[in-house]
Symmetry: C2
Subunit: 342 residues, 2 copies
DNA sequence: AAGTACACGGCATACGTATTCAGAGAGAAG
DNA sequence: CTTCTCTCTGAATACGTATGCCGTGTACTT
């Protein structure tokens, strides 16, 4: 086996022309049954596979999607938000089912988006994944739209926003978390997570919480909100800040599980027990949530559905079908950290 | 911007021929300085990017690597072993640094390895990642070698094994875990993990443990070894089996962190405290290890170095340079679950 | 028996780039 | 002024596949 067999080789062996081989193997109906069988047999025997480069070049389509993670720089650059990592499995799987290959790449938000997979014809479309400073990359999204690039984004969905966005219902998620805490008798609920417009998803979770509180005639207190990006370290530090403010609180709603886990660590150090002194609820339901101590009550995003929805939305777009943004439901997973009887 | 600019378009605008454009943009020295500048300017202005398909077709090389995960079927098919997930970050990053794109795909061990990326010219080489029944896929590795496919594998490294394997020094890892437990005064050390030849990596960890015990004049007891694949559930069940055997033990060395976490859960249910009654050490140092309760002492595999080594080894192979298998050192991370003073 | 329809498959070509080969022009050496 | 060398660029072509168009031969219609 020196050189890879081509459709010409098969054609010669089968006594037909190269185009016929192509037609036969792609399942065109204009090739007679016996001819096709013969060609298929020879192809199998030669271990023939279509050269994807040639095929893509000819068809101007690659059967490949690209997945782009982007994140705020983290101390360890190879760390990825576990929630997105979970989604990765689902995305890969869906791609495989739909017959697409998947290219993946990590981008620092700050770097230039050099890699434009679709532009260089390595992919038919792009999936964007990552929290991150929204303002920073809105311009880039608009550039993508202008270039006619097919892409979908996971995140916060808003009127007049460039491109198609699939996201979880952050407002509802924040609300059920809040309602649950209130039902446990908590009144002074702190929120850890960026509430500025730079992270609209986190902000929306906060708004959901506030809505729940207002529904129970509780006025949200600005002093109980601390900015934090979605890392454990940020959660730890935010909690220390919160404690230092000396405003009483009996519950924490963290904008992500990582933040929540960091918060629990800080609370422990300061001698506040979870859930007795402070009930804690996270967001995402990453694998580590159930391993935390105490096991973390959290708002679950359905990453399987999410991955599937993203891929399918992108495929629709590639086929020039219209796609509407989708909002997936969030679901409360009750464990021990919120103090509810289970 | 309707249609993607080609090197012909640029040639026309620059008043040169297409080959000159190609030469200029690829940095050939045979293009005069002013001509090159002019071409580069026009290319930038037109937002030109090389068509990777055409380029790959012409050059017969793709500048792309493929990453293949394969695993034993798990209940949730989109779950991935966290250790490999950590490695993913490092692999992606290294690929990016080396100027390669990365294709990724998950394979059930049981399925046919349909996707042969290199065969279909979508990748220049393949990285194989996953524990799994070694016997099952040895034949496939041999097929890959025979086809002349470039690939590297993470795992157990053995004489006369098909292909290049990079792995961690499992024997040493098992040994330092054993020595540490013995130094804590533990004598009856159980091992959770498959010790058959189907999972040579896990087996080697066990052999390391045995060597440590024998070094301390302790005879390993077969009754204290229970087979388990690397999932939490398997660890949980294996521990229940172990307890049911009614043979006293004061330490567990688990072949992976997931197994260890499952074991801790089982021990807790049976009223044995960790580390007082039973010291536990895991393997891998997955992110969840430090979050476990108590935080898990474990043998760390350096996933950053691992990913880098894998990619570089593969690139060497692609360039037809000789590559020798490598064995990376393992390192003990002491946390609370082993009962050592920290 | 002649004409029509259709099934099958070949010919030519396009996709966009990279490389080999050869040739043009300029300058230098004689 | 000729010849040689060297630098730069263009013409031609290959990479392997997919598809539009057209020709051939068979079956079927009337």
């Amino acid at each position: 086996m020196q050189t890879k067999p081509t459709s010409f080789d098969i054609a010669q062996l089968a006594g037909v022309s190269q185009p016929t081989v192509s037609r036969a193997l792609r399942g065109s109906t204009t090739v007679s049954e016996p001819t096709r069988k013969r060609i298929e047999a020879i192809a199998r025997q030669l271990n023939y596979t279509v050269d994807k480069n040639a095929s893509s070049l000819r068809r101007q389509t690659t059967n490949t999607l690209a997945l782009l993670f982007f994140e705020d720089p983290t101390p360890d650059e190879s760390m990825i938000n576990p929630f997105f990592l979970s989604m990765l499995g689902s995305i890969t799987r869906t791609c495989a089912l739909r017959g697409y290959d998947l290219l993946i790449s990590f981008q620092q938000m700050s770097s230039n988006w050099h890699v434009d997979f679709e532009d260089s014809r390595k992919a038919d479309g792009i999936i964007l994944l990552g929290y991150g400073d929204y303002e920073l990359y809105r311009a880039r999204l608009e550039a993508l739209v202008e270039q006619g690039t097919h892409f979908v984004r996971w995140g916060f969905s808003e009127e007049g926003q460039p491109g198609t966005t699939i996201g979880c219902d952050n407002f509802q998620g924040g609300m059920i978390a809040g309602q649950h805490l209130i039902a446990q008798g908590r009144r002074n609920i702190a929120f850890l997570g960026d509430a500025t417009s730079r992270y609209p998803e986190l902000r929306t979770r906060y708004e959901g919480l506030c809505a729940a509180m207002e529904g129970a005639k509780i006025t949200p207190d600005q002093a109980l909100q601390v900015d934090a990006i979605t890392t454990e370290q940020a959660g730890f530090e935010a909690t220390q800040q919160l404690i230092a403010r000396n405003v009483p609180f009996d519950a924490i709603f963290a904008a992500s599980d990582l933040i929540a886990i960091g918060a629990i660590r800080a609370l422990e150090i300061h001698g506040r027990s979870v859930p007795e002194d402070v009930a804690v609820i996270g967001f995402d339901d990453i694998p580590a949530a159930s391993l935390a101590h105490p096991p973390l009550t959290t708002v679950q995003q359905d990453y399987r559905l999410a991955g599937e929805t993203l891929v399918d939305a992108l495929l629709c777009q590639i086929r020039n079908q219209s796609v509407s943004p989708a909002m997936l439901p969030a679901k409360l997973i009750v464990r021990k950290s919120c103090g509810a009887a289970q």
